[in-house]
């Protein structure tokens, strides 16, 4: 099966994601990020500073979650969103000519996608010197709208299975 459309609509149609990481003492940390979802690999990417707390946390504990949602201050039945849980991997850092071709390709692709999605706000700003790309390998994803839930699991090969729906 494929990832349900409701989930994809949220992943493609929104600008802000909220990433939660935690350190080895189980102290959570939460930040808003710009992200892109890549349908081909079924992964979420975001760019961040390598010195940020979330990178530090990911190095200690690769488990992360990200929530992307639409919120309605008036009617809770219109609240809609997804939360994806999985592991994060960070692209290697180093002088550009030492990076393997696939990492470079990833940089190019993701950066292009970012530029496409956030054109209005990032104005051709190149990736910063200390920026790294974080890739979230989704293992589980929950979708909600009002009181209704749906959740799927994604295995290592990218196979999607429905866990529950109500």
């Amino acid at each position: 099966m494929k990832i349900p459309d409701e989930m994809l609509n949220i992943l493609y149609g929104n600008y802000f994601g909220y990433v939660c990481t935690s350190d080895r003492f189980d102290m959570p940390h939460l930040t808003p990020v710009f992200f892109v979802y890549d349908g081909q690999s079924q992964k979420i990417f975001f760019i961040t500073n390598e010195k940020s707390k979330k990178v530090k946390n990911i190095l200690e504990n690769p488990n992360v979650s990200i929530t992307i949602d639409i919120r309605d201050p008036v009617n809770p039945f219109n609240n809609e969103g997804v939360m994806a849980q999985g592991t994060a991997s960070i692209t290697e850092k180093g002088p550009i000519y030492f990076l393997p071709e696939e990492t470079l390709q990833l940089y190019r692709d993701i950066y292009l996608e970012f530029k496409g999605k956030y054109q209005a706000v990032i104005e051709n700003k190149p990736m910063g010197e200390n920026d790294v790309i974080v890739q979230i390998n989704i293992e589980k994803m929950v979708y909600w709208k009002g009181p209704h839930f749906k959740s799927v699991k994604i295995d290592k090969e990218g196979k999607v299975t429905m866990v529950k729906s109500k």
Partner: protein, 408 residues
């Protein structure tokens, strides 16, 4: 602090104690305990040598006890204020520097009230034929005993003076701080932990006042003194209580963050259990001092928080049309989950919070109340919805794209 000269911020007593071994070698709690023992042993030896009655020993011990209890409370002022981090507001910082400057003035004004109590009291004791001395030591006490008693009286009077000195200054500092806090802009504030530290000093002084009642048995034969002890107790507890109350009314968030928290509708709660993180959007309320959110009894995050009460709590303003206007604040710390046991203890707080929820989210409240909803969603207070309070230990604030760490 200019020319690299560091203010010492110590009272005479601390300076003296800090120079005499073995007291100078110990942390201040142990040093106080050792002083108690030292005085007690000295008193008992003198008592035995001069064949004092048991009642005299009891009086002496009571006096020593009061002096030591007072020391324990009042000597926290120095270490607390020495560690005090500067407020992030020029005016508030100036005020607190001025406060510390007077409190620990290099001319040691703090000893004046003590001397003002000690001198007339000693004159009264020795020249006015008061029965107190006879009461304490019996007929014709030895000069060594008188010296010891004089020392003890000085110890007590000096601390009484410190009590008056610190509580008057505290009240002034709290009044001014409260006034200045109303004029803050942007990120100006005094960190939360520092406000709490000031409040704790004030509460210490409330106890300081109450402890003076222990002096009553020593003075009961002289009614005017009994009245004076009561007056002293009332003065110290009252001023300190008012001061602590004023401090609790000073907002602990700078205006920018205060307004963001006050005006936003949603927050995200991040939790973590055995390394696995979880995020959910929540509705929350802020009463100016405390932040509460609601969760359903069935929610995953509640189960997680019961096992690990550390949370990250994020409130933001997001706007794609102007990202430089975006703001976010992250609180990390613990949560307190309200349970059935809190109902009798914190009923008023809980009802007030519930009312805040109803005013802030009228539509939510109405929609949550319909019985067609799954049970977990119905807004039956306490039964299906659990009240959770956020207790931040750290605050991070983003404005535009810049991160600013705000001390708590």
């Amino acid at each position: 602090m200019h020319d690299g000269e560091k203010k010492e911020m110590k009272w005479i007593y601390e300076i003296i104690v800090g120079k005499i071994p073995p007291f100078s070698l110990l942390s201040y709690q142990y040093s106080i305990l050792l002083q108690l023992l030292f005085l007690l042993v000295l008193g008992i030896i003198l008592g035995l040598v001069f064949h004092l009655k048991t009642i005299s020993l009891a009086y002496g011990s009571l006096g020593i006890l009061v002096a030591v209890l007072w020391s324990m409370l009042i000597l926290q002022q120095g270490p607390t204020l020495r560690k005090f981090r500067a407020p992030l507001s020029k005016d508030e910082n100036e005020l607190l520097e001025r406060y510390k400057g007077i409190l620990f003035h290099k001319n040691h004004y703090e000893a004046i009230p003590g001397v003002a109590i000690f001198v007339p009291f000693m004159l009264y004791l020795f020249y006015d034929g008061s029965g107190l001395l006879k009461n304490w030591l019996g007929e014709n006490p030895n000069i060594l005993l008188l010296f010891f008693v004089g020392l003890l009286i000085w110890d007590i009077c000096y601390r009484m003076g410190l009590g008056i000195w610190t509580s008057i200054l505290a009240l002034w500092r709290s009044l001014e701080l409260k006034k200045l806090a109303e004029k803050r802009t942007e990120l100006e504030h005094t960190p939360y932990t520092e406000l709490r530290a000031l409040r704790k000093l004030d509460i210490n002084n409330v106890f300081f006042g109450l402890i003076s009642l222990l002096l009553l048995p020593l003075l009961k034969s002289d009614p005017p003194f009994v009245v004076m002890v009561f007056a002293f107790m009332t003065f110290i507890t009252f001023t300190s209580f008012v001061s602590a109350y004023l401090i609790s009314k000073v907002p602990w968030l700078p205006p920018d963050i205060y307004n963001l928290v006050k005006e936003s509708s949603f927050a995200y709660v991040g939790t973590s259990l055995k390394g696995v993180t979880h995020i959910t959007p929540v509705v929350y309320v802020f009463d100016g001092q405390r932040i509460f959110f609601n969760t359903s009894k069935e929610a995953k995050k509640l189960k997680v928080m019961r096992k690990n009460n550390k949370v990250a709590f994020l409130i933001d303003k997001r706007d794609m049309s102007n990202i430089y206007e975006n703001k976010a604040v992250l609180f990390t710390g613990n949560v307190k989950i309200y349970g059935v046991l809190d109902i009798p203890l914190r009923l008023i707080q809980m009802l007030r919070t519930l009312r805040l929820f109803i005013t802030k989210y009228p539509e939510y409240t109405r929609k949550y109340s319909t019985s067609e909803l799954p049970k977990a969603w119905q807004l039956t207070p306490i039964i299906a919805r659990i009240l959770v309070e956020v207790k931040p230990a750290r605050i991070i604030y983003w404005r535009g794209a810049k991160q600013i760490s705000v001390p708590v």
